[in-house]
Amino acid sequence: MESILVLTHADESGSALSKGSLEAVTAGKELAARLGASLVIGIVAADAKAAACVLASAGARLMGVSGEAFAQARYASDAAACEALCRAANSSIVVAPPGSRMARVAAGVAHRLGGVIDTHITALGGAECVEATRWFYRQRVEGTITRDARPWFLLLDAGTHTAFEGAMSDVHVEQVAVELPALRTSVNGFREPLKDAQTIRPDARLLFVAGAGWTKKQPDGETRAVRAGELILDFLRLTGASLGSSKSLVDQGGDGQPVLPFLTHMNQVGQTGSTPRHAKGLSTCCHGEEPHVVGWRFIGERRAISLDPNCGWTRGKADVVYVADAFQVMARVNELLAARKE
């Protein structure tokens, strides 16, 4: 008989569970119901009891690790906290939420417990045993796996389960003691681009992808990188879209070619970048092949503007391809959007 532990943690506010944690709670509940397994939810937070209020109706035993050391995401303290929760719950399956915090420590914790781990899990299935689905080769091959070894840690991918919703209520959380190792790392906060330069918006409905074509020679023989930058930033300002880019465009700075100064490697999507999950995507001046498709795997509706009617990546991948000059189209799009706002 399997038993399930869902690891969760507080968000930046410290007083609520992260969205990824609530998605993991849903996954854990569904898995426990299907397997007839017991369910424990473990919480890592400065104040686990406060963060757990939303879990009153989860139908699970709640365990928590509390203390100032756990307000910050740090390997040594988080790994110790998760290890203590896992040992206290003694579960055979550990479901962990998506996000940088658990991705940093889950494998280390699995090793400490003599267990195994698989990550980027997109679905949990199987009739008589647990089967986990994940991508290989950067979303190019899909596989379903199972394991005999226990405990088996399953780190979920973001957006694969709905976030658990429950009424806020007082709950009983069993506090688990943690013996912290000497902490050699201190977290000093977050760095983010200046407000005006913020171009990565994971919660936006629309992803705008800029390709290297924006900085190449145009039909008049000139490059117009400055104008390209203006058009793109205007569009982002008018729509609130998130900005993605191809690797080639980001790398151009190192080659001394015209660049869009607000682009960094953080904007990259695809083989060496992120795999965004926006509802809609508009790609412009992109001529990427398979690596670019990889970055689009989880975009809902996709449209593209390209001068190349035979661009290989768009066929079968985009819903609509507009064969046109992106400079002209985006200038007009911005005018229309601005008129709507007035």
Binding site: S100, I117, R140, N188, I200, K317, V329, L337
Partner: protein
């Protein structure tokens, strides 16, 4: 004493990103069609780690860089012909299976065994580098497992920047959600850093560096030890290509005005 580091970069090899991949079933489990003849590259994120390691070592004279890579010897040799021209390092090859379907725990064990026996490695100065994920298995766990096995309690993933201070401590910027970096200050080595892209451009090929590297790379390849990777109970139920294929409408004869109107309508309330 000036800061010197012993940087070990763990790097696998991956099929060239431009290749079409097709999964097949082999006696050893799932694999890729014509896997051994597909052109290969150093895994992109691990390559970032290597360039950052070389950059760090150059800034701290006396530092050493090892590149520990597990893969078929012939493929490693092919990849090294290019990589050797990018940065100075000592190659420590491990002759083993290729591909994304091997088990990360077994891979970590093989790497750790190799790292632990590196001649001249000072573990107090060890910085274990690698990609935060790979372009093959993409699990993002191998480096953590290796770090745990080596007893390293300070680990960072999704690293884009390291700034070493005079006292040997260093600030690390890790990617977190929302396009932000988390800034942490670590007291010093030993530590694990799983790199994202970093901030350095890919170095240009330097034939002199390549010739110097190849003098040690070829003998190292000849004496590479072999590793077999245990599946540790990992079973593949099914492996396939995603089937999604969209019906693409190619709009060739629309004016910019008409396209703009359609796009604005499509964006809707965004």
């Amino acid at each position: 004493m000036a800061n010197t580091f012993h940087i070990v970069v763990c790097a696998g090899i991956a099929p060239d990103p431009l290749q079409t991949l097709e999964p097949v079933t082999t006696p050893a489990g799932p694999g890729l069609k014509n896997e051994m003849v597909l052109p290969a590259v150093l895994d992109p994120w691990a390559a970032s780690a290597l360039y950052e390691a070389a950059h760090l070592a150059a800034a701290h004279p006396g530092s050493r860089v090892w590149l520990v890579s597990l893969g078929p010897r012939a493929k490693l040799q092919q990849v090294m012909m290019t990589v050797a021209q990018k940065a100075s390092f000592e190659l420590v090859p491990v002759d083993g299976p290729i591909g994304g379907f091997t088990d990360a725990h077994a891979t970590a064990a093989a790497l750790t065994e190799t790292i632990a026996t590196l001649p001249g490695l000072d573990r107090e100065r060890l910085l274990l580098f690698g990609g935060w994920e790979s372009a093959t298995r993409g699990a993002g766990v191998t480096l953590q497992l290796a770090g745990e096995r080596l007893g390293i309690m300070d680990q960072f993933q999704g690293v884009d920047h390291i700034d070493v201070r005079e006292d040997g401590s260093f600030e690390v910027l890790e990617r977190v959600e929302g396009g932000k970096h988390q800034a942490s200050l670590c007291a010093g080595a030993p530590a694990v850093l799983g790199w994202a892209t970093g901030n350095l451009a890919e170095p240009r090929n330097n034939p002199q560096v390549g010739m110097a590297n190849m003098r040690t790379i070829l003998p190292a390849l000849q004496r590479a030890r072999s590793a077999t990777l245990d599946a540790r109970g990992l079973r593949y139920v099914q492996v396939s290509l995603p089937r999604q294929q969209r019906t693409t409408r190619v709009a060739k004869d629309m004016t910019a005005d008409a396209i703009a109107s359609e796009i604005v309508e499509w964006i809707g309330a965004e």
